[in-house]
């Protein structure tokens, strides 16, 4: 994945605080999570996907990434905001 090409040095994983905390809650080593964001940034959905992948695979390999097809349905992951139909404020211009 993109994370492999662009891993930052010093073993640092780039992830927001919410994802880091979720990783601790789920017992996930965040350094082992494949990030789907730019530069391999890890978000909460990535952490959940990793956790589900781990639970699914005996021995807990960390190659079950976000796209793992036969992983159990994760809790609805906040990949986009809510149920609202979010539009850019600017696209309304000129009307």
């Amino acid at each position: 994945g993109p994370a492999d090409e662009s891993d930052a040095p010093a073993g640092r994983t780039f992830a927001p605080p919410s994802a880091r905390r979720l990783a601790r809650e789920l017992g996930v080593d965040i350094a082992a999570v494949d990030g789907s964001g730019p530069g391999g940034r890890v978000d909460e959905a990535d952490v959940r996907a990793h956790a589900e992948g781990d639970a699914d695979s005996v021995g807990g390999t960390d190659d079950a990434g976000a796209g793992s097809a036969d992983a159990p349905e994760p809790k609805p992951a906040p990949t986009d905001v809510g149920s609202g139909n979010r539009t850019s404020a600017v696209s309304k211009r000129g009307s």
């Binding site: 149920s83 139909n85 404020a89 211009r93």
Partner: protein, 475 residues
């Protein structure tokens, strides 16, 4: 290319060197495109010459004098005198440095500068009439054009700007004497910034506003704080009255006439009248129709999310392309226009454009209010931190206002924020980044904020929304 040369062709032609146009031109040149920028008046446009920058300079000067004159409570005794002429001179120096900088930056990036008034000849040609007699004109062919001609103040019948005592905002920023009595028509952000400035400079200010409150687009509790403070500064408000004209006052001054919808007339004794009721796009003389471009019924040029007009290779950015008529929106659109022309995947895709009002206290907003979030189908949760609970605010003597943060309840994604209070214009930047990044309330709350700062209030508001505020009681 030297001004006056006959330019035969350019890849990108930009018309207007305001914050929309000059930023577009610089970015286009950075993208390696041969770029020509035409300006008929002054580099930097309204913003640098008679808008954002001059107003903020006078707000600083009048604010400092007022603050120092009212600081006995903290043991500072001063009785400041303001020389408005000198303040305006300082302001002019700031403007000169900035507009000179814009010109230099354009040149350093390789933008061809042409002085003159552009008008479309056809879809791929403009004629530029050089200012002054016998300066002639030149034709420029272009592959792509960016129209960035900006806006000018709306005039009210009966209050034409020809009269010396009827001011545009530009006049108000160039006065060298503080009028004893200043009538301001319009309680929008320009009217309110200048009402605050002149009240602090010692004028008796009366604001006449057709609506029943100031600062129309803002929420009631935001408006209230700014209005109350303006009243404390001595500003009188006349709501529900439309200004209709003026007459001689007999005392050497004038009478500002206003009437309610029901037809009741009032007059207010004034020495100057500032008309600040909005701005309209500048497209006259551009001969847009020669390029096949139409304007909407308010005169704005319609564009898509790539800043393209109906004629694909002609873009429009900034005030001439409609709301929000703000300098940073113009610049963002300018960057997008240049990048789209260069074939980059740019778009006006940002979630939110922040806005600030530099009243006392300031307002800073970005993204959605609670009501807008609801209307958009979110289930919003809101957190607040009043500045009167902020240690930093107390140590500055400015504790009016609050930070409010709006998020989606389920996902905690930050949707917007409203700040009224000290440095609101600066503090909103963090919430803007949170909105753009898809940060959650937890992300903002978990980010360590320096103590003691006003920015801590953003963190506290996020904690408050999660029922975890330390320095306020949670709802």
């Amino acid at each position: 290319m030297v001004v006056g040369d006959i330019a035969t062709g350019t890849e990108v032609l930009v018309i207007g060197a305001g914050p929309g146009g000059y930023v577009a031109a610089i970015r286009a040149a950075q993208e390696g495109l041969d770029t020509t920028l035409v300006e008929k008046d002054a580099y930097g446009g309204v913003c640098l010459n008679r808008g954002c920058i001059p107003s903020k300079a006078l707000i600083t000067g009048s604010g400092l004098a007022h603050e120092a004159g009212n600081a006995e409570f903290m043991g500072v005794h001063a009785d400041p005198a303001v020389d408005l002429g000198k303040m305006v001179e300082w302001k002019d120096g700031v403007v000169d440095r900035l507009t000179g900088g814009v010109e230099k930056l354009c040149k350093a990036n390789g933008v061809n500068l042409v002085e003159g008034t552009a008008s479309f000849v056809d879809e791929h040609t403009v004629r530029v009439a050089h200012g002054g007699e016998g300066q002639g004109s030149e034709s420029i062919e272009f592959e792509h054009a960016i129209v960035a001609t900006g806006s000018r103040p709306i005039q009210i019948p009966g209050l034409e700007f020809e009269a010396e005592h009827v001011w545009t905002s530009a006049d108000a920023l160039d006065a060298d004497v503080v009028p004893d009595r200043l009538g301001i028509v319009g309680g929008g952000y320009i009217g309110m910034e200048l009402a605050t400035t002149y009240a602090k400079l010692g004028a008796d200010v009366t604001v006449v506003e057709m609506l029943d409150d100031i600062l129309d687009p803002y929420e009631d509790d935001v408006k209230r704080i700014v209005r109350k403070r303006a009243e404390e500064l001595g500003v009188e408000f006349r709501f529900g009255e439309g200004a209709s004209g003026w007459s001689e006052g007999g005392d050497g001054g004038y009478l500002l006439h206003a009437e309610t919808e029901a037809g009741e007339e009032s007059t207010y004794g004034v020495d100057k009248i500032l008309v600040a009721v909005g701005r309209r796009p500048v497209t006259d003389g551009l001969d847009l129709e020669n390029a096949g471009i139409e304007t909407d019924d308010r005169g704005f040029i319609e564009t898509d999310d790539r800043t393209r007009t109906a004629v694909e290779h002609v873009h429009a950015v900034g005030d001439v392309a409609g709301e929000p008529m703000l300098a940073h929106a113009a610049s963002k659109e300018g960057i997008v226009a240049a990048e789209v022309i260069a074939g980059e995947p740019a778009a006006m895709d940002q979630r939110a454009i922040p806005a600030a009002v530099f009243t006392d206290p300031e307002i800073g907003t970005v993204g959605m209010t609670e009501g807008e979030a609801e209307a958009d189908g979110f289930d919003p949760v809101v957190g607040e931190m009043p500045f009167n609970a902020s240690g930093r605010a107390m140590t500055t003597g400015h504790t009016e206002g609050f930070v409010r943060i709006v998020a989606d309840e389920e996902t905690e994604f930050v949707l917007g924020g409203q700040i009224v209070g000290p440095e609101a214009s600066e503090l909103i930047a963090e919430i803007a980044l949170a909105v753009e990044m898809g940060a959650t309330l937890e992300d903002v709350a978990a980010t360590v904020h320096t103590h003691p700062t006003l920015a801590e209030a953003v963190m506290e508001a996020a904690e408050n929304a999660r029922g975890q505020a330390i320095h306020t009681l949670n709802r």
